[in-house]
Symmetry: C2
């Protein structure tokens, strides 16, 4: 199985059909094929060998498809950068896996001096624009003269992507996904009811995340036209739907909310939308009701998973979004195992639990990652017994529906981004005045959860929210920043000395 | 990717739903799971190690599912026997890949002495019936006492099946298919429009053939109930459709014809049928028209491929069975590459030809076989350049539709069985009176093609059709036997000395 197969196939069957829409620019599949082959030729000319990593620091757009397919066409490995991270975090993720080439949009050029200093592995930094005034190699130079390359045909367990995700302890981890991981994940979704071939798919979720990336893969394998907006912005999404008769969308709940709540929603013709897939965070009934009312022709489906699962392990299909499904509780679940993987609920000894009992959700199958880059111990721990341990707690009913009830990992999901409490706590605790800290997620109408910090100052020391926020800002991406601070005399501890976060959280809802 | 995943998944989500219907007997997924685990335990107890081959000599039925899934659950490799072959051919196929265990239905017990003599590799011959009066080990003995085995979890490129197919020269070849080959082939079909999950699938095509076997895999992956009849017989098919509200069928054109032409067709309620997949041989417009009229609620789709492709490389979906599709010619094609593979038309130098030009159909992707058992030269030849060379000649239009126009291999398709002319010619030419022979396929209303032999006797020698047929009968399976003989003074030869079969055939249509 190889990712480039989608391109071979689409060029063959639909060479002159529209593959990509990005603003005023349109590419046919033949155009895209030409670009991908030349991209691969360009990076090969710069010394990229099969297995090498290539990064990108840019918003969504046609350049992203060229980058993803061109990189794997050259046999290399994508390592897209999370735009929400600090320079420090970005540099660390590039350096960790020895990324040699970085594509960059000019708007991010100001980060370069610090990036180069902290990630000396970077040999070539290439602009995605044809003209560049920031000392970057403009696209016209590195791409314009490139010769097309033959498909390196990497496949199966060959590495295709390294995607960095926040870690429970300290630094992000590089999740290694193979060609088979990514193709199988797309197949798992495409074999479900409710997937339309040859659709028009709007990509507004960030493509550096596995959610957006897998949406791209599903769209490509379905032979759909891919419409891009630079990033999620509700007005841009509504305009794109109306302008391009978009049929399918992938959104996280926060995006869905702000789209349907947009004051100009009714001005746009959104009747073309036939399928909305949502995921990456839980959704509540009232939002789903309003979304169903806003997009009355759309079949809704929910994807549950994580980067380590490429990402989907469970799907809740359109048939489970009925009123009946809500009454019997299945409509509130994360759905059932896709057609390519197995899901189980296990106890701490990895024994499968009887239905209805809460335990850890574990997954086995061809979509389970190859491991964490350069972290054999973390890999062995996550994949113990041949099953990916998600760190989520859930239960399963007699028909295999999985309901996620809590997270084993101390993690907050805010606007579909995962924030590990420990990472934020580690930063806050380095403030000279802080004695103890607990970071929890509190319900938030817009973001699902927001990051909340409870702080106990050292005896005799003084600090306020402003000074602690300032301390955090250099080390933490914006979405990881606490939205609220609370100062207390002490934190409630369990008998074993652990902070009782559940009760902290409960008292604040 | 592993075949056993379907069973794990179905047990989890539908343990008490009906998995198998075979006459009066019904099995739930839990029952099937129990049987598969015990089957695996039984063969392991008999010394079967992962990678070992297990054969079966039986008609379709619940025992076949248990055999297929139980064998791969034990980590072993299925080698089902073509029931239409002579004892000699069967023994050869078992011995060629060193099959140690053979399951057998009592009705085939009379073949055993000769089989054992010619295939001394057979260590255990096990009856599929609980009681056996033929000196076989009855099922109650070998299965009844077995302990369930854990899934050996063979996967990806691990071997799952060896399926013997007729060879152009002499003996059949063992096509090696991996777990990934078989799972990917099912996915390729299931990602196409027109596949219904949780259907009721009637398996009447022989399961020892890749067509029937892949129908079984597709049904299992779709979570469908599998209904079995012992073999194709039109009345049994009609009865099963009506009795079990069958929704989906796989048939070869000959089967479709005799089913809809059956004098009692109208007596049965066949309105439950929603999907008919046909393949393994071309279909003509008039048959398709009558089939569409006979099954008005059914979406028709055509699968094109071969054992070496696990088997499907092209699909012609329901949307291409419209009146429009027939007018533009696509309705007469074999369809387009499935979502998992690539198809090309190449010349003798393996260069891709411009659209519309006739060349050899070649295929690349995860459904291409691992090779021919113990035949590295044949494997290298068939898979040269990384593409499976089908031996079929075809052309492709601008949208990727492939039309098969002829066969490079000198092969006759009769009732969906492949007969290699050379094999029949080799047998006939060993008759003492025969000087030269050419075997060709002639159009046949019922079988698509029939085997026709043209014979030139040695000077001064005498022989008639009866004596040559008698000579053939010991060496050739019934379906390979010439249906008609013709005696001539000479055969037309090309300048290179090859028999001009195309002109022989043309003159006789």
């Amino acid at each position: 199985m190889y990712i480039t197969q989608v391109l071979h196939r689409q060029i063959q069957r639909a060479a002159n059909d529209c593959a990509v829409v990005d603003g005023d620019s349109r590419l046919t599949w033949a155009d895209l094929g030409d670009r991908v082959q030349r991209f691969a030729g360009a990076v090969r000319a710069l010394g990229v060998e099969p297995g090498d990593r290539i990064g990108i620091l840019a918003r969504n757009g046609a350049h992203f498809v060229e980058y993803v397919l061109g990189t794997v066409w050259a046999g290399a490995v994508i390592n897209p950068v999370n735009l929400r991270w600090t320079v420090d975090e970005i540099a660390w993720s590039l350096a960790d896996c020895d990324t040699r080439i970085l594509l960059i949009a000019s708007e991010f050029a100001p980060l370069l001096p610090e990036l180069r200093a902290k990630a000396p592995c970077l040999k070539h930094v290439l602009a995605i624009e044809n003209h560049s005034s920031d000392g970057l190699v403009p696209r016209s130079e590195w791409f314009g003269i490139a010769n097309p390359l033959e498909d390196a045909l990497r496949r199966d367990r060959d590495l295709a992507a390294i995607l960095y995700t926040g870690g429970t302890t300290g630094r992000p981890k590089g999740v290694m996904l193979s060609h088979a991981n990514i193709v199988c994940s797309a197949m798992g979704t495409l074999t479900q009811p409710g997937c339309r071939p040859q659709a028009t798919f709007l990509h507004s979720a960030p493509l550096f995340h596995i959610g957006g990336l897998s949406g791209l893969m599903i769209a490509l394998f379905a032979g759909s036209t891919c419409v891009f907006v630079p990033g999620f912005e509700p007005l841009a999404v509504l305009e794109a739907i109306a302008a391009h008769q978009v049929t399918d969308l992938f959104l996280v709940p926060t995006m869905l909310r702000v789209t349907i709540d947009h004051p100009h929603f009714a001005r746009f013709d959104t009747s073309s939308v036939q399928g909305i897939r949502y995921g990456a965070a839980p959704i509540d009934d009232s939002l789903l009701d309003r979304a169903i009312a806003a997009f009355p022709h759309a079949a809704f489906s929910q994807a549950y998973g994580m980067t380590e699962l490429s990402p989907t392990c469970c799907l809740l299909g359109p048939e489970d979004h009925s009123a009946d499904a809500r009454i019997d509780g299945r409509g509130r679940s994360a759905g059932r195992a896709t057609s390519v993987c197995e899901v189980r609920i296990v106890n701490a000894e990895d024994e499968e639990l009887p239905r209805g009992q809460v335990g850890e959700i574990v997954v086995r199958g061809p979509t389970v990652m190859q491991g964490y880059w350069n972290r054999p111990d973390d890999t062995a721990h996550a994949l113990r017994g041949g099953w990916m341990h998600t760190g989520d707690l859930g239960r399963m009913d007699d028909a295999g529906y999985v309901t996620v009830v809590d997270r084993l990992k101390d993690m907050i999901i805010t606007g579909a981004e995962n924030v590990y409490s420990s990472e934020v706590e580690n930063v806050i605790s380095t403030h000279a005045s802080v004695g103890a800290v607990a970071v929890i997620g509190l319900p938030d109408e817009r973001w699902g959860e927001r990051v909340h910090a409870m702080i106990v100052l050292r005896p005799g020391m003084q600090a306020d929210a402003t000074s602690i926020a300032a301390h955090c800002r250099t080390a933490l991406a914006g979405y990881k920043m606490p939205r609220s601070f609370e100062f207390a005399d002490s934190l409630p501890l369990s008998g074993a000395g652990k902070v009782l976060k559940a009760s902290l959280r409960q008292a604040r809802i």
